[in-house]
Structures are given as structure tokens and as C-alpha cells.
């Protein structure tokens, strides 16, 4: 996608909100949802249009967990590390996912295929431990079936 197209999409998002600081989070959230990350250009455009200093835009985008400054992979693998999942063995599931994908938590594989994330509870504790791949829930996980499930996402 060309830079100008990206900017024009960001402009479209900005148009839905009033100018001013109260729109900063919603705008960044929409951009994150659309592009999966916040690019430098995106931050600059938002700063300019909402008339908020770039350093405030940057500090907000690094403060909240939802935002990422790096592009994410095709498959986003999330391992729930909520308390209920933790006591039911989530750490072993996460370690196995790290080993199989050959990336650490929070990282994206070089081929941009996988991003491995941890999340603090998705509120489906009855199914814990849970691994979510691009929104699909895999419940009652054990380290042993991580490989089998991840192999399906090529």
C-alpha cells in the first residue's frame, strides 16, 4: 500500500472524530485495528490533525497494551496468561509456542508470518489454558498439542 493511500485512510478515520485530545485514543485504536500497528507516519499525521504534540501521541501509543509500533504477522498467536490459565499450566503452553515458532513472546517472526503475544485474561477461564489464533479460541491447551494446532496455520 502506498504511503499516500495510508494517509488518506488515516484522514478518513480522523474525520469521524472531533478535533481535540479526547479523540486521541479512539483514533489510535481505529488505526491500530485497521493496520495492525501504528507507523511513524500515522503518529505524525494524528499529531498534526488533532493538534496534539507528537511526544504526547508517542507516549500514549507506548503506554497502552493495545498499540504496537511494529507491524504484526499474518497469524497472531495469543496465549492467555490470566491467573486462571496460569494455575492450570499456561506457562508450559507459552514456552512450547515459543519453541515451535522460534520467537519469543511479543515478537514477530522474520517472515512476518507469526506474532506471538501474551494476553492478561480473555475471560473464558472455564476453557483455560487458552490459546487464540487470529481470533479462534483453542481451549484446554496442553503443551503437547501446541504444535498440532499451530501447524494448521501455514
Amino acid at each position: 500500500m502506498k504511503n499516500s493511500e495510508v494517509i488518506s485512510e488515516i484522514d478518513d478515520i480522523l474525520e469521524q472524530y472531533p478535533k481535540g485530545p479526547e479523540s486521541l485514543l479512539p483514533v489510535l485504536e481505529d488505526i491500530q485495528e485497521r493496520f495492525n500497528y501504528l507507523s511513524e507516519d500515522a503518529l505524525k499525521t494524528v499529531s498534526e490533525k488533532l493538534q496534539i504534540p507528537l511526544n504526547q501521541v508517542y507516549s500514549v501509543s507506548t503506554f497502552y497494551n493495545v498499540f504496537s509500533l511494529e507491524p504484526k504477522g499474518k497469524y497472531i498467536v495469543q496465549v492467555c496468561m490470566g491467573t486462571a490459565c496460569h494455575v492450570r499450566g499456561a506457562p508450559a503452553v507459552l514456552e512450547e509456542a515459543e519453541r515451535f515458532l522460534k520467537i519469543k513472546r511479543g515478537k514477530t517472526s522474520k517472515d512476518k508470518k507469526y506474532t506471538l503475544e501474551t494476553v492478561n485474561c480473555v475471560g473464558a477461564c472455564a476453557l483455560g489454558p487458552i490459546m487464540i489464533v487470529n481470533g479462534k479460541y483453542h481451549g484446554h491447551m496442553v503443551a503437547n498439542n501446541v504444535k498440532k494446532i499451530l501447524k494448521e496455520y501455514k
Binding site: 503506554f63 497502552y64 486462571a84 494455575v87 473464558a124 472455564a126 503437547n144
Partner: protein, 616 residues
């Protein structure tokens, strides 16, 4: 439709209630997040197809509802009016349900819930142990209404509390009623709601705000989400009444972006409330005006703190600030603001409808009403429960929760989220209320309740919460930012077998400083998981520090996996499953784990059919 006045509402309400009752049979399928994750949307699809095929009316027969609470057994299907309770329903079961249960009134044995203790099959929801010891005043309508239909909510007496307020109560009377009820903030701190409202009411300002705090960030807690998803109008009604009492013109619902279904249902509910005249200018024809907007949080635990939440709406990082001034004096954009948790707002219509006197009879001397907990972890009946304050932890875990799975021994229950504490077996007969939990070194919190068994290591649990808190600390004040990090480093060292004599004392001393010197409740309560585990599980800390052992077999640096050659049948399953080829062996020769290669992932331990692999 838009009600021009209260009389018009009353007529329509009667009509809707009659329509709701008229339908003979109704199939209620849980479409809350938990059941969706178990596949309930496929079950709903199957019902729709089957009902259409049988030329029956989908609209009348099928109810897609919010969370019923018993997530462990999802997808859940309840057949009204008898409340026949089917659990773990699959799309394949649907034609039989339509033909047998709906068509002929027969119960399908196979889909019934089996009590784990008595092994008895239970037909009706009211007889399931998980439900029959609960008092579901707030949460009960979730299973009956479609959260996207305002008609359902109104049919079951919804918005009648608002009408009562608008027709014959002034704002002081409303605040008085809430004060008399004894309602306290359900977000965790337990501040009396009536007093909080009064403080904001007293402020002189042309603009006042109210906020619903739905930034439910405690891992293991999803009560607020289930209410927002399953009964959004009850929150709106509570807020409208609150706005009337306080004199607010605008409200915000702050909800996590991670809760897309809650956001969707809230948006629909707000739209409908505007259309029907419960929100906007001149509500129900009176001169009272008020509107609500949704604000989506971006994933920061500290935004659950009032002032952090306000900063977040103002487009800043969610850093708390010193109080006073309290939000009631200077809140959002510097205007008086009242913030309450989702559950607190949901209690308001109930109190107004049934009266403070009725409400204050539920609960203990200092904690009134019911509390919604998410009962999760190592417990048979995982799910959301609503119980009167004063019920004991034992009744919750061993009664409603059905005890610990796989015959394991109970070890601790963690309440209050990351700022809470771990409560041991010896304290299980403690009645649950704000003060009692505080005395045990924990807090009520927002309602997370995580059960742990003998296989959980309490030092590891403390380490887990600290790592969470280190990440979520906003970093503004030094005691929290640096202090909690040091706590984490010490506990982490202990779990790796590098603990030293004096570590426990150091943890305690540091904790006291963090509690005293931190800016907000986040830091002030952050040491709770460490202090409560030291208090009740001192021996386990000692075992890690002195003996370099993890009695529960969790801290991987403190044990090795070994194969017992006597028990090993050389089946080779462990060898095939080992992801790092650390197991050697051949046919008829007992296998061996090469310790240098072993990463202690535990896969061999879980797959061995002969229990030949031991933690030593």
C-alpha cells in the same frame, strides 16, 4: 417509538410483559463470550435452521441470551418455562431437542448435567447445585432476555425503577435511598455509594459527569463483561437514575476494547434507549436530560483507578494523580465527576424497585446485597456466581463450585485480583465481606476468585502477580515503579533456587514501604500477593530458600524429570513427544532423560501412560 410521557410507558410495559409471558415454550441459548468460545454460535445456527425447517417461528421460540454463568458446561441451552437444563450441547443435538423436548415435552437424558458428587442426572436448572445456592438478583435476567432487544428488558420490569424515580422522587430522596440500602462500591474499595453521590451532588457546577468503570483488567475476572454483554440496559438504567440524583448531564461507559461483544451490545442498547426516550433530551417527557457515550480503553490495568481512567478519556497516558481533589470535586475536564463500577450501577435499579429496606436485609452488617464473583481456576464448576455477602468461602468453593477436580487437595483461593491475597484452607469458613477479607490480608476487589490446588506453588503465584504488576505499573511514582520491580526480582530469585537467608524479611520491609509511599491504590495494594503468601505459606518460601526445593513441583529450576526404570515399559511415547529429543531409549530398554538437553516442558510427564516419570 418514543414515549411522550410516563403514562404511555406504563401502558406499553404491560403490553410487552403480556407478550413475553404469552409464549409457551422458549429455547434460551447462551451466547456469552465463554459459550461462544465453546461453539454456541454453531448451536444457535443449527437451531435457526431446524426451527425454520419445521416451519416454526424463530423469533418466538429462540432466545440468544447473554452469559448464564455456568461457563464450564457450555454451550448451555435452557428450555423455558420448566427450565430444562442442557449442557455441552452440540449442533448435532439440535434436531432431537426440537423434536423431543419442544415437540413432545420429553427430556433428553444424555444432555442433562450430572452432579459430580452424587452422579445424579439433573433435569431442571433450579436443581443444579451450581445455581440453587445462588441469589441471582442482578445476574438472573441474563438467561431470559435477548440483550439486543429493549422490549425484553422492559417486559421483565426494566426501566420501572427509572419511572418510579421520575414520577415521585427528588434527587435527595434517591440519594437517601441508596445510602440507606448500604450499597458499597463493587469495584473493590467498597466506598459507600450514597456518600459518593452526595459529594458530587453538593458541588456547584454547570456541568457534571458520571462514568461507568468497565475497565475490568483483573486477570481471571469477567463479571462486568458478562453484565455489559448480557443485560446492558440494567447498567444504563442505573446510570440514568444516578445522573438524575447527582445532576449530571453526560455519562461515559469506559469499557475495554478487548470486550468487543460488550461494546456492540452497549452501542445497540444506547441507540434503543435514545429511540424509546430513556436517553437524550426530556427523558420520558420530563425536563430531565441526559446522554451516554462509550469510551473504549486501550488495555492498561491502572486505568481501573479513577484518576487514571479520567486521564485516559482526556487523551493522556493513564497515570493516576494525587487525591484530593477527588473526582467528585475536580474530575473529567476539571468538572465534578462520579465514577462507579459496572456492578454498582447494576444494583441501583434493584434498590430503587425493591426499596432500601428490602435490600439492606441481604448480606452482613457492613456489606449489603449480593456480590458477583468469577469462580475460576482449579474448581469443578467454573463460572460466574451471584451470592449474598456473608456466605463463606467454603460454601462458594465446595458448595457452588463443587470442590476441586481430580481428587486434588485445596490449597488456596486468591481474591481481589493482582492486588488481592491468597487465603488458605484454615480460613475457608470466613464470611465474605469487605472487612473480613481485608483482615485476612486480601481484598474483595472486583470479584475475581481463583482457586488453587496442591499442584500450585505459592511462591510461583506471588512471582506471577508481581510480574503482572511490574508490567502494569504506570511508572509515575518511584515506590511502585522501582519497589515492585525489586519485589519481583527477589521472588524470581527464590523460585530459581537462588534465595538467601533474610529474603523474606527484606520482602516484608520493602512491602511496607511500597504500601506507605505509593501514590495510588495500585501501588498501595501491590505487595498484597507477596505478604499474604508469606503470611500463610511461610514454609513453602523456606523450602525454596533453605532446602532449594519446590514442594509443589512448579519451579522448574528446583527439580528434574526422571524416569523410574521399574515403571517404564519402554513404550516410547515420551521419546516421540519430546520436542527437544532429550529422551533416549529403545525397545524393551527403560528410557532415560538427558538432563543437559531437557527444557522441563513437562510434556513427557503428561503423556506417560504409566506414571513412570517423576519430578525429583
Amino acid at each position: 417509538m418514543k414515549f411522550k410521557d410516563i403514562e404511555e410507558f406504563k401502558v406499553k410495559q404491560k403490553e410487552l410483559a403480556k407478550d413475553f409471558e404469552k409464549v409457551n415454550k422458549k429455547i434460551s441459548v447462551c451466547a456469552g463470550t465463554g459459550c461462544r468460545a465453546s461453539g454456541s454460535l454453531l448451536v444457535i445456527e443449527a437451531f435457526k435452521n431446524e426451527i425454520k425447517e419445521k416451519k416454526l417461528d424463530v423469533e418466538l421460540l429462540l432466545k440468544e441470551t447473554g452469559c448464564h454463568g455456568f461457563c464450564e458446561r457450555g454451550p448451555l441451552v435452557v428450555i423455558y418455562p420448566e427450565k430444562i437444563f442442557y449442557s455441552k450441547v452440540k449442533p448435532e443435538d439440535v434436531p432431537e431437542i426440537i423434536q423431543e423436548t419442544i415437540g413432545k415435552g420429553n427430556v433428553i437424558e444424555r444432555l442433562l448435567y450430572e452432579d459430580p458428587q452424587t452422579k445424579e442426572k439433573i433435569t431442571y436448572e433450579n436443581n443444579v447445585t451450581f445455581y440453587n445456592s445462588q441469589d441471582r438478583y442482578i445476574f438472573g435476567k441474563n438467561g431470559q432476555i435477548d440483550p439486543t432487544k429493549i422490549e425484553d428488558y422492559i417486559a421483565l420490569d426494566g426501566y420501572r425503577a427509572l419511572v418510579k424515580v421520575l414520577s415521585n422522587m427528588n434527587s435527595e430522596q434517591v440519594i437517601d435511598e441508596i445510602s440507606k440500602s448500604g450499597l458499597r462500591g463493587r469495584g473493590g474499595a467498597g466506598f459507600p455509594t450514597g456518600t459518593k453521590w452526595k459529594l458530587c451532588r453538593q458541588e456547584n457546577s454547570d456541568i457534571k459527569y458520571i462514568i461507568c468503570n468497565g475497565d475490568e483488567g483483573d486477570p481471571g475476572a469477567f463479571m462486568d463483561r458478562s453484565l455489559l454483554e448480557g443485560n446492558p440496559h440494567s447498567i444504563l438504567e442505573g446510570m440514568i437514575i444516578g445522573a438524575y440524583a447527582i445532576g449530571a448531564c453526560k455519562g461515559y461507559i469506559y469499557v475495554r476494547r478487548e470486550y468487543p461483544l460488550a461494546v456492540k451490545h452497549l452501542k445497540i442498547a444506547i441507540e434503543q434507549a435514545r429511540e424509546w426516550g430513556f436517553l437524550g433530551k426530556n427523558i420520558l417527557g420530563t425536563d430531565f436530560s441526559f446522554d451516554i457515550e462509550i469510551f473504549q480503553g486501550a488495555g492498561a490495568f491502572v486505568c481501573g483507578e479513577e484518576t487514571g481512567l479520567l486521564a485516559s478519556i482526556e487523551g493522556k497516558t493513564g497515570e493516576p494523580r494525587p487525591r484530593p481533589p477527588y473526582p467528585a470535586q475536580k474530575g473529567l475536564w476539571g468538572k465534578p465527576t462520579n465514577i462507579n463500577n459496572v456492578k454498582t450501577w447494576a444494583n441501583v435499579p434493584l434498590i430503587i424497585s425493591k426499596g432500601a429496606e428490602w435490600y439492606s436485609k441481604i448480606g452482613t452488617k457492613s456489606s449489603k446485597g449480593t456480590m458477583i464473583f468469577s469462580l475460576v481456576g482449579k474448581v469443578n464448576n467454573t463460572g460466574l456466581i451471584e451470592v449474598p455477602m456473608g456466605i463463606t468461602l467454603r460454601e462458594i468453593i465446595f458448595g457452588i463450585g463443587g470442590g476441586i477436580p481430580n481428587g486434588k487437595k485445596f490449597k488456596a483461593v486468591q481474591t481481589g485480583g493482582p492486588s488481592g491475597g491468597c487465603i488458605p484452607e484454615s480460613k475457608l469458613d470466613t464470611p465474605v465481606d469487605y472487612e473480613e477479607l481485608m483482615q485476612l490480608g486480601s481484598i474483595m476487589g472486583s470479584g475475581g476468585m481463583i482457586v488453587m490446588d496442591e499442584d500450585n506453588c505459592m511462591v510461583d503465584v506471588a512471582r506471577y502477580f508481581l510480574s503482572f504488576l511490574v508490567e502494569e505499573s504506570c511508572g509515575k511514582c518511584t515506590p511502585c515503579r522501582e519497589g515492585v520491580y525489586q519485589l519481583y526480582k527477589i521472588v524470581d530469585r527464590i523460585t530459581k533456587g537462588e534465595g538467601e537467608e533474610g529474603d523474606i524479611e527484606l520482602l516484608e520491609e520493602l512491602s511496607e514501604t511500597i504500601k506507605d509511599a505509593s501514590l495510588c491504590a495500585f501501588g498501595k495494594t501491590a505487595p498484597n500477593p507477596v505478604l499474604s503468601t508469606i503470611r500463610y505459606f511461610h514454609d513453602e518460601y523456606k523450602a525454596h530458600i533453605v532446602d532449594k526445593k519446590c514442594p509443589a513441583g512448579v519451579c522448574t529450576a528446583l527439580f528434574e524429570y526422571r524416569i523410574d526404570p521399574e515403571l517404564c515399559t519402554a513404550c516410547g511415547i515420551c521419546r516421540k513427544n519430546c520436542p527437544v529429543n532429550a529422551i533416549e531409549g529403545e525397545k524393551k530398554v527403560a528410557h532415560v532423560i538427558i538432563q543437559e538437553k531437557c527444557t522441563k516442558c513437562g510434556i513427557c510427564y503428561s503423556v506417560c501412560p504409566f506414571d513412570a516419570i517423576k519430578k525429583v
